[in-house]
């Protein structure tokens, strides 16, 4: 694996499958009396969060701690970051503290790339979500969840529904799922599909009811109101209309094949993109996604941090 994980496109198929198989072995750790491995003992992982995110930060923190790394949480609120410190000065501080890995969440697309390639830090950089760009570990945990339920993803059809325009999860998933051989269909109102989606190598549709019967998995996305300028942002007429045309309710769940799973990266807005009865149904693997997130992030940290490339091949 490379030194950084900035984009789902950094992983070729072999590397992606290595992350998944490593995560599979690490997942069993959750069933053991001592949920800890010594692999990263003495290493320091910094969680650098410029944007609020409870679940991703907790997930990375749990992953690093289970590998015995020391974890430093650095969030924008109540720190020097809120006093106007630049990314460069923050990075130099982290470098001076001897961070081995920096997990960065930033509101600006491309911030992890800048941190990794500027020469400010020598540590590995893991993108934990940057703006509307990418969220590769979320894509890995989604792929891992699908892989556990469906086996090989070759030829599997995955429908990603909702606010694709603002979703880094959708972009990373589209890249990674294709790498792993799945066919991805993005379903959204025309206003919520990004310009240039034709180059992603995925299908697009405006009609959820036409796609659901063929899907092996349905991934619902949250409507990211905070990234829209006004209420609804003019992207759709009203929340009720959005919900009626693109929400997953029990009627639409009835269209799915028996083995099809329903996913959501969270946080979900019940009643908006997904109804409560669907979110709590047997098909929903939303809670499992959280468990898998820790295993996948452990796998990523382990593969990035243990050893170095110059150490010679096995």
């Amino acid at each position: 694996m490379k030194h950084h994980l900035l984009s789902a496109a950094d992983l070729d198929r072999t590397e992606a499958e290595l992350v998944l198989s490593t995560a599979e072995e690490l997942r069993s750790l959750a069933d053991r009396p001592i949920k800890k491995l010594p692999a990263l003992r003495g290493r320091t992982v910094v969680n650098l969060f410029f944007e609020d995110s409870t679940r991703t930060r907790i997930s990375f923190e749990a992953a690093a701690k289970r590998l015995s790394a020391d974890v430093i949480n650095f969030s924008a609120k109540g720190s020097s970051l809120s006093k106007g410190e630049s990314l460069k000065d923050t990075a130099l501080t982290l470098e001076a503290m001897g961070a081995d890995a920096v997990v960065i969440r930033h509101w600006a697309s491309g911030a992890p790339h800048l941190l990794a390639n500027s020469g400010w830090v020598r540590s590995s950089v893991v993108n934990a979500g940057d703006g509307t760009h990418e969220h590769p570990t979320q894509a890995l945990l989604d792929a891992f969840t699908l892989w556990r339920h469906l086996g090989s993803l070759d030829g599997r059809r995955v429908a990603i529904v909702g606010d694709v325009l603002h979703s880094r999860v959708a972009r990373s998933n589209a890249i990674l799922l294709r790498t792993l051989g799945a066919e991805v269909t993005l379903i959204a109102p025309p206003t919520l599909l990004p310009v240039g989606v034709g180059g992603w190598g995925v299908e697009t549709s405006y009609d959820i009811d036409a796609v659901l019967p063929k899907a092996d998995a349905v991934m619902m996305l949250r409507v990211q109101r905070e990234r829209m300028s006004r209420e609804g942002g003019g992207f759709f007429p009203s929340a009720r209309e959005y919900s009626r045309r693109y929400g997953l309710d029990s009627r639409r769940m009835g269209l799915l094949q028996d083995h099809t799973v329903v996913m959501h990266p969270g946080p979900m807005i019940r009643g908006m993109e997904i109804t409560a009865d669907v979110a709590d149904s047997d098909r929903s693997v939303i809670v499992e996604q959280v468990t898998n997130g820790v295993a996948v992030r452990m796998a990523v940290l382990y593969l990035l941090l243990s050893g170095n490339e110059s150490g010679g091949a096995e």
Binding site: L26, S28, K36, P38, L67, L304, G307, G311, E314
Partner: protein
């Protein structure tokens, strides 16, 4: 060379795979002897648990369990213990692929655990295994069975049950092949003494 041709040990020619030191029947006899030694030492199969170290320790553990079952009529639980995360050279080498750890349902607490590996060399794998076991449970005692002991220990570790003591030089490479993975049972030595 056909597998059933009983070779004279001194006349075995050097093949591209190296010099064969144990063939399928030698391995089988060694495992049978180890199985009986384990039973003798433990005074039966009670509380026994065999834990193979992946990759090749696991099929060896299964084979020993089969022999114990046919001798005592008692199915000894078999598991596997991956020690990758506990190695002392993790920082020096590229990330290794993790291998399965499967602990039998009843756990290790109070059991007589026999660790099974193919080759005992520096002893570092066994040290890692002891550490790994520490995080899984507390056995009553731990013993070590290996198919080949090639010497050159770097830690104060020894095996309780040894298939074959094989004096080697550091320049040589001992290779264990098992039918489960390699289609053939053989132990070979490559390289210059």
């Amino acid at each position: 060379m056909p597998a059933d041709a009983a070779p004279l040990r001194d006349s075995v020619p050097a093949s591209p795979e190296g010099r064969t030191v144990l063939d399928a029947r030698d391995i089988s006899r060694a495992l049978t002897r180890i199985s009986h030694e384990i039973l003798e030492r433990n005074k039966g199969a009670d509380d026994l648990l065999l834990l193979g170290i992946p990759t090749r320790g696991v099929p060896l553990a299964r084979r020993i369990a089969e022999r114990i079952a046919s001798a005592e009529g008692y199915d000894v639980p078999v598991g596997s213990l991956d020690v990758t995360m506990y190695r002392d050279d993790l920082r020096m080498r590229p990330a290794r692929t993790l291998l399965p750890t499967e602990i039998p349902e009843d756990g290790l607490d109070g059991k007589v655990v026999v660790l099974v590996d193919d080759v005992l060399f520096s002893g570092r794998t066994i040290r890692a295994a002891l550490d790994a076991m520490n995080d899984v449970g507390r056995p009553q005692s731990v013993r070590l069975a290996v198919l080949v002991d090639r010497g050159h220990r770097e830690l104060p570790i020894r095996a309780d049950f040894v298939g074959k003591n094989l004096p080697t030089s550091l320049g040589e490479k001992v290779r264990v092949r098992l039918a489960e993975f390699d289609d053939v049972d053989a132990v070979t030595i490559e390289g210059t003494p």
